[in-house]
Symmetry: none
Subunit: 205 residues, 4 copies
DNA sequence: TATGAATGAGCCTTCATTCAT
DNA sequence: TATGAATGAAGGCTCATTCAT
């Protein structure tokens, strides 16, 4: 019974935290880090300002809490992709499929000047995650080159940066959310575009 | 004589405005909209803070004045490209070559949440320029499809968004500024990647 | 039986109140009124914050409850001293001995600007106790003057303020707590210093 | 003329700063560090809150700027006293005369728990001044003992702490400000009290 | 009765903008 | 016209106090 009550409270706490994070994510995406303010979030969620600070000691922490699991999930997908017993192209396609609609968000973040502030305050943690993501992708591309699938004249860094760019949310938003292109179709277009782009075509010539 | 003096003053005024805009551009790129502040810009340019407000009534106006000519120049390039008596592919390559190193900047801006604020305050003007840019690109791509060059299965909007993404500054920065890849090489990789990606390859199969 | 249970509860209540007061006293002395906060006290005592408010409706009340018995005890000592069948000098020495190491604390309080806030909220009570303390000391000093022991040229108010100053905790802290001077020695130095200072020495000349 | 204008502005600036410091000193003495707030000071001085921050970057700095010159002036008096070609007793009397009515204030500060905060933020500077004050007084007292004037049985630290206590503002306030005892008379009572207290009286016995 | 999550007033500080000189 | 001191609205954060459980 004691346990039940505790877990009830804990549940409510998590729920509240979820509400805050959801609202904050929306605000962050719409307004950016600086234009979203703690008052407005409190209002939006329907709690007092102080309550936010029970969950997140700083504004930075709230935002980082938002971003961190997305980076983690992305990293996890990268690692799963790498471990698949398929061709590098299929691995990367798996990754695109898995992450395009969801967690790509963090990469938007990385490009925003706002995010620099946040990431600076968590440098150690960020430096633990992001490089792993990049090197995972790098590995898959290198593998593809070694196997003669991808164009050896394109530097791997070029490919990986271009690949990362695919997760940039504007294209996704425009095509899937605005123009209602089915996600499947969007994914296949995107991977076609990219893989035809990096394919080693010399044998064809 | 009167005219001369005025035009002298006017010249000085323009010069100063140039200095302010140059410094502000650097600051904006390095720190983003919120972390660049008017004090710092005044200091950096070597004028008093009040002087900034003689040139730009709001911080927003300063930044918009920064972005606007870049959009205009981009639009001009689009129109020049369209008018060239060459294939659509070559038109788009011309555009890439012309704008990659310079004015793509504005598109970074557009993606940043900060910029939303700025653009909102100038909605009318922005809505006059941006759609023309997109439709210009759209036109060249459609032309390419009609001529059987580009894959008709890829929606034009998809192609154009992907094309716009090429100007996203991260890839450029990483490859050209950090890794010192020559701009020529970078351009050719980029256009290879893109055009192989959108090429109509059915005949090849 | 009813009474017994109540008194048991009452005992526990008092015990807890004691714990709170003890912890708060330490915190108050170390950090002052504003840097000691209710969270920290609750934590330190091992009760919930709300519990503090069952005992003391305001932070001010907690602190006043701390100070008040010390003033009372000091007053009691003054009255005992007055009633002793010995010389005024010995009465005052008794008072020094009795109170130096303990309750002088409240007087530190009085000098701190923080305490002003506290005392203002309890003006009536404070005005009932402090004047009695001062007049008790005043009486002993007057008696000593009348008996030709103390210098009649020194105003009594001067003597009494100087005497009160002896309880100022800095000297005590420095000598007894930091330099480990035995309390006996400290007391005798202090009373020597004071009484030689106020002694009527004309007859010696 | 240029110079004149500059010095005029500078004069006004100093005047304003003086007003702020004066008001802040009153507030600090009346309410203590925490109960005095920047809003109230701005209001009281008749400037906007932001203006305070043109003069003092932090609340702490404002208060420290208040306290620092008083410590410096006290130190200067100590050094002047030491250099006088008179007896140690007369040196210390000179110091009492000079500082009693004015700058002793800082020592009140030192005892207040609030001040701890301020001093912590300026540890280096404070540690440069305060020890010099104490050692200067210490030297004069030691000199007096060596010359057989002061009681060699009283530890010098005891004497010096007691001497410092004389500057404690309560006695002064009560006698001079409340009871209107002339400063001269107050000083002579005080030094009588103290010096009779520490005098070496063995030869008399 | 005891708890501790929730509250919100209040404080310090920043910075775009104004305006007297 | 150019200046830069002055302004004050707005934001992040703290903490005494309340109240549902």
């Amino acid at each position: 019974m004691m346990t039940k009550r505790i877990s009830l409270k804990e549940t409510q706490r998590k729920e509240r935290e979820r509400l805050i994070l959801d609202y904050a994510e929306k605000a962050l995406l719409e307004k950016g880090y600086y234009d979203m303010n703690m008052d407005e979030i409190a209002m939006g969620v329907g709690v007092a300002k102080g309550t936010l600070y029970l969950h997140f000691p700083k504004k930075e922490d709230l935002v980082y809490t938002l971003v961190e699991p997305k980076m983690q999930s992305f990293l996890k997908s990268v690692e799963e992709a790498k471990a698949l017993p398929v061709s590098p192209k299929e691995k990367l396609e798996f990754l695109l499929n898995r992450e395009l609609s969801g967690a790509f968000f963090q990469l938007l973040m990385k490009s925003s000047p706002d995010m620099t502030t946040i990431f600076k305050s968590r440098e150690a943690e960020v430096n633990d995650i992001l490089p792993k993501i990049f090197s995972g992708i790098h590995d898959m591309l290198s593998e593809g080159i070694r196997e003669g699938l991808f164009d050896p004249e394109l530097p791997v860094e070029f490919m990986s940066s271009a690949f990362i760019n695919l997760f940039e949310p504007h294209l996704y938003k425009e095509m899937v959310e605005v123009r209602k292109m089915p996600l499947q179709v969007f994914n296949s277009h995107l991977s076609n575009l990219f893989f035809r782009g990096i394919m080693d075509t010399k044998e064809t010539n």
